[in-house]
């Protein structure tokens, strides 16, 4: 007798959602062959709680192995699979098909504003460059004398909790119209990560980061369109964080 009691045939916990057919229209681009990206249709039989990532895997594993996309954790914490789904930036692993209108085709394409490499893969380096440029690490000259932790009250800790959730998926930055037209703009994700340190009571580098973001490509480029907040798969109040950094710069302190 093996452990067949644990063998699962698929998600059954809530199997009210039946099998259905969905058309995925994926913007493909093979840099070794194509001059321009092209849209390709796939009709797929999908099930109850399947996500867009499952549909992409079905294409890759059963139809065309050359379809290229990034993915890793498959439950919304690693930030690999941000892409445009029906025109909105989302994580493919966190977007359930049943929550989209499956009577209509689902359009999937790479993030906008970052250089397209292949199919759903973009060059992430410009994005990480901006992140690194805000000096995203704790700057603190002193260490507690007793060899223990620095003290921080729960209230001080709560002050920057929201911006610690960032997974650097680029959904926010690549949803920003300012970033689309001006690739030099730091973009929301870099500002979110600056916020995470500017408002950390242990940090002494707020002025450094505020100076960096007071640049013409800094926070003042933000037009408060809230695209970033809508796009964030972690529910971070991105636009608010940017506004708080703007206010801190105007005050000259966090």
């Amino acid at each position: 007798m093996a452990s067949d009691v644990l063998e699962k045939k698929g998600p059954r916990a809530h199997d009210a959602v039946p099998t259905f057919t969905v058309t995925m229209i994926v913007r493909r681009f093979d840099p070794e062959v194509d001059e321009e990206p092209r849209w390709v249709d796939y009709d797929l039989e999908m099930h109850g709680t399947d996500r867009v990532l499952d549909a992409l895997h079905k294409i890759k594993w059963e139809i065309d192995g050359s379809l290229a996309f990034r993915r890793s954790c498959a439950h919304g914490v690693c930030g690999s699979d941000a892409m445009r789904i029906n025109g909105r930036n989302r994580l493919a692993c966190k977007t359930l098909l049943k929550d989209l209108d499956v009577s209509q085709p689902i359009y999937v394409e790479a993030l906008k504003g970052l250089p397209l490499e292949k199919d759903l893969i973009v060059d992430m380096e410009p994005f990480f460059d901006s992140f690194r440029d805000v000096q995203p690490f704790l700057m603190a000259s002193s260490k507690p004398k007793d060899g223990k932790e620095r003290l921080q009250s729960p209230e001080e800790r709560a002050r920057f909790d929201d911006t610690t959730k960032c997974i650097l998926c680029a959904a926010c930055t690549s949803s920003c119209p300012v970033f689309w037209t001006d690739g030099q703009y730091f973009g929301p994700a870099a500002i979110v990560n600056a916020h995470r340190f500017i408002f950390d009571s242990r940090d002494e580098g707020a002025q450094v980061r505020m100076d960096i973001l007071n640049d013409k490509e800094g926070v003042w480029r933000c037009r408060t369109t809230f695209n970033c907040t809508d796009a964030c798969p972690r529910g971070i109040q991105v636009t608010q964080a940017i506004a708080e950094v703007k206010q801190a710069i105007m005050r000259g302190k966090p």
């Binding site: 452990s3 192995g65 930030g79 292949k118």
Partner: protein, 599 residues
């Protein structure tokens, strides 16, 4: 730095030279890099962007006897680790883990990690499975945490500090071979060979010290909390080099995966008071672990859940899962301490944890076994001798601090303690070591590997072979095992290995060819699954996560020893017996002779 260093190009192959070469950019790899980077020329090579590593998926906490909220000490932590591992833990290593835990947590806080805080401003701590005060009397609050995204915070903090130190990363580079050269009769590492995803180019990294920190291989199972990328490449490379693997039969099944999906719901839920219930609403863990109940170690809880289901007390229309109930907790507490996992239940199962119990099932989670190392993270080439200059840390390594069953929160601890040790020891070694010459034509092995996966008749799909492997592993080598079930899956693996020779790679291009790499990864999964099953069949006792129904008792007289698996003869031969040799290595016992394990 943004531009990846292209190295020196000779005949299309890129050559790089660094004192320290770290393979893997999860918690262990980056913790090592933070030690090594400021002291020696260091390169970190990762198949992912560092912030994508699966350390970031860890939720509940990191154990350390800080005693911030109640009395605790590292000796109790050592004892719990040894007992939790069902006495297969090397006790000197567990002592190091528990002692150095305190500095490891303080290091992270000093680096900027935003731990949850007590009203006094200290790092807050919470309960976790198997962590007790006074040698098992009651649960103790030992897990330092940041909501239920402690791993995320560790990964981010370590990456932030790597940015601070200007660590040289090679992202989306897949290391596929370890280069060894014989020096004075002993094989020593000369470097590694990596495949660059973006271009398909091969890169040779020569290093004095090589650290493997490549994580686990949970994708040998279907129902798993592990990322798609956890295919055991590093462990597989070491195995193929003829170096041993230790305790591979011990694989942890985490009790609370979302039913049918395997997505993890942290043990922190039970640490905060969640209760497991069967179809009758009974808190069944009271029967299996009367003292610490739902906070028993994971092997015991997973087995208890499986037993409930087998005996007909599973919940749901098919009676095939149990419930994790947090409905009695205040929504404010849930939001503050367990926000992410409740979001997972809502997103993926459509269940509202405030008011409904969440369907859960054990999910493949963590490899206790792996590349055997000393307490200084040096890799063993025999039961007693090391490979000079080769190190391993994190889930890919087996020190062994986890024995046959890891305690929750001890893995985030392991990566920090032994990642740091690996980094420091790699630097020490590199200071006095000479460069080892690269072999002639260093990329020959990787070219052969790639030709191999592209060279068959293309009649077999990658996904089909992988699925057959994963489903059979779930069926036959999961929480319960028998000689028959292991023989069944062993026979299947033999057939799958043969079919793998004709695997189909549809993508013929060089740029971002993830199809080719999935084929390569499948090869590692097949090799490692074979070792897991072979080692499991050979261990005729039940210990920790390894439950043999045909040998239900622990056998300390004969089997309180580590399994050491060696690749011998023709690795391609069909029968596992022809190319795997098993040996035993003694367990280090210091203060804790084995006793019956009760909770």
């Amino acid at each position: 730095m943004s531009e990846t260093d292209q190295g020196t190009i000779v005949d299309g192959v890129h050559f790089h030279k660094h004192d320290i070469v770290i393979v893997g950019a999860g918690g262990a790899g980056m913790r090592a890099a933070i030690e090594a980077g400021p002291k020696a020329s260091t390169a970190v090579i990762s198949k992912l962007y560092p912030t994508r590593s699966h350390t970031g998926a860890a939720q509940g906490g990191m154990a350390a006897a800080l005693a911030n909220v109640e009395e605790d000490n590292w000796e109790w932590h050592t004892y719990d680790t040894v007992k939790g591992g069902d006495y297969l833990v090397d006790q000197d290593a567990a002592e190091i883990l528990a002692k150095e835990a305190i500095d490891a947590v303080i290091d992270l806080e000093n680096m900027g990690l935003p731990f949850n805080r007590t009203p006094e401003g200290r790092i807050d701590q919470r309960r976790f499975g198997g962590h007790t005060r006074e040698h098992g009397k009651a649960p103790v609050r030992r897990a330092c945490y940041a909501a239920d995204r402690t791993g995320h915070m560790i990964l981010q903090t370590l990456y932030q500090n790597c940015v601070k130190h200007g660590i040289n990363f090679f992202n989306e580079f897949y290391v596929l071979d370890l280069l060894m050269t014989e020096v004075d009769g002993v094989e020593r590492p000369a470097g590694v060979v990596a495949y660059e995803l973006a271009t398909g180019d091969l890169h040779v990294f020569q290093g004095k010290s090589i650290i493997f920190a490549t994580g686990g291989f949970g994708k040998i199972y279907k129902t798993t909390s592990n990322a798609h990328t956890l295919t055991g490449d590093g462990v597989g490379i070491v195995w193929r080099k003829g170096l041993p693997l230790e305790d591979m039969e011990f694989f942890q099944f985490h009790p609370t995966g979302l039913a049918g999906l395997g997505i993890l719901l942290s043990e922190a839920a039970r640490g905060e008071g969640a209760i497991l219930r069967n179809s009758e609403g009974e808190r069944f863990m009271e029967r299996y672990a009367p003292t610490i109940k739902d906070l028993a170690p994971r092997d015991i809880v997973a087995r208890s859940m499986a037993t409930e289901i087998r005996e007909g007390r599973g919940a749901g229309p098919y009676k095939d899962y149990v419930y994790l109930d947090i409905t009695h907790l205040e929504p404010a507490v849930i939001d503050a301490k367990l926000p992410d996992i409740t979001e997972f239940a809502r997103t993926y199962l459509g269940v509202e944890p405030y008011t409904e119990p969440v369907p859960v099932l054990p999910t493949a989670h963590y490899a206790m076994g792996g590349i055997p190392t000393t307490n200084n993270a040096e890799v063993l080439r025999t039961n007693t001798e090391t490979v000079p200059g080769l190190f391993a840390a994190g889930e890919c390594a087996c020190v062994s601090v986890h024995g046959s069953n890891r305690l929750g929160t001890n893995s985030l601890l392991d990566i920090n303690v032994f990642g740091k040790r690996a980094g420091n020891n790699a630097v020490e070694y590199a200071k006095s070591a000479d460069w080892v010459d690269l072999p002639d034509d260093p990329t020959a092995g990787v070219r052969r590997l790639l030709d191999h996966v592209r060279g068959g008749d293309g009649s077999e799909r990658i996904a089909v072979i992988r699925k057959e492997l994963q489903e059979a592993m779930d069926r036959n080598a999961q929480v319960f095992r028998t000689d028959e079930s292991l023989r069944d899956v062993g026979d299947l693996i033999k057939k799958l290995r043969a079919r793998y020779r004709n695997v189909q790679v549809q993508d013929k291009g060089k740029r971002f060819n993830t199809d080719l790499l999935e084929a390569v990864e499948l090869g590692f999964l097949l090799d490692l699954a074979e070792v897991v099953v072979y080692s499991a069949r050979n261990r005729k006792e039940s210990r920790g996560a390894h439950m043999r129904e045909d040998y239900p008792k622990r056998d300390d007289k004969n089997l309180m020893v580590h399994t050491m698996a060696y690749l011998t003869g023709d690795a391609e031969s069909a029968q596992a017996d022809d190319h795997i040799r098993l040996d035993w290595k003694p367990v280090v016992v210091t203060n804790y002779p084995p006793t019956e394990r009760k909770y």
